[in-house]
């Protein structure tokens, strides 16, 4: 397993950190305050997790005034995705679309 894999797995192994990352994936950019409100841990703890996510390339920060906004970096997950399952999912998805198209076509 590559070093990149190690870092990603270690980073996402922590449930609190994973929940923060997942929430960013689901809801988009958030500030530390937004994230703390529902994380169940204190703001310094959330900040620490965001720092680790940032070092793993999983989140990016953007400064605006006194606020820092964090957004997810899905590209960072690429090494974890096996191409065979990925392409299988891709073609299954496209066949669904093909089925819809065929229904709409005459003849």
């Amino acid at each position: 397993m590559s070093k990149a894999h190690d870092v990603l797995f270690r980073t996402l192994a922590d449930p609190t950190r994973r929940a923060i990352f997942e929430r960013l994936c689901r809801e988009g950019e958030k500030t530390v305050g937004d994230l703390t409100a529902r994380a169940g841990v204190s703001q310094p703890v959330v900040s620490k997790h965001l720092g680790i996510l940032k070092r793993a390339g999983l989140v990016r920060d953007r400064h605006e005034g006194r606020q820092t906004h964090y957004s997810p970096q899905l590209k960072a997950l690429a090494p974890l995705i096996d191409w065979t399952s990925q392409m299988t999912g891709f073609w299954e998805d496209r066949f669904d679309r093909l089925e819809n198209l065929l229904k709409r076509m005459d003849q």
Partner: protein, 143 residues
């Protein structure tokens, strides 16, 4: 093992459609129909024709028609060039149509990835979704 054949892996997806092969063939070979289920393209069903498939994620695939046997077989290259070798992809996609009593059996096979190919950019959308669904399950179990 450095055997070239051993490095080649393939993906096969098959499905039965309740329509004759002629109808599926149109969906597979007419650009405006291809766009509706696959990607934007400038496809022409002529062996040797080079074309692009443009994904809605911004990626552009370089393709060349390899085989055209109307209502039966369609094959083209499916290559993605990227500065980062981890994203490079060289593959061949082959569609095979077989008539059945109730319609057509469609099989798509994609093969010929580089040995260091860990991901296929062409499938990014479905891949992220799958990954996030898995992540969701992991998180659900952890809670």
């Amino acid at each position: 093992m450095n055997d070239r054949a051993a490095d080649t892996r393939s993906v096969v997806v098959e499905r039965e459609f309740p329509y004759p092969p002629e109808k599926l063939w149109r969906a597979l070979t007419q650009p405006h129909l291809i766009e509706e289920w696959l990607m934007k393209n400038d496809f022409v069903p002529v062996v040797g024709h080079r074309f692009n498939l443009r994904g809605d994620w911004g990626g552009v695939l370089d393709c060349e028609v390899l085989e055209v046997e109307p209502h039966k077989t369609l094959s083209y290259t499916w290559n993605f060039a990227h500065d980062d070798a981890a994203y490079n992809l060289q593959s061949v996609v082959t569609f095979t149509l077989t008539p059945t009593h109730t319609g057509t059996h469609l099989r798509v096979e994609q093969k010929g990835f580089r040995p260091d190919q860990k991901q296929a950019y062409g499938g990014a959308h479905a891949g992220w979704r799958q990954f996030l669904e898995k992540l969701d399950q992991v998180v659900a179990r952890a809670e």
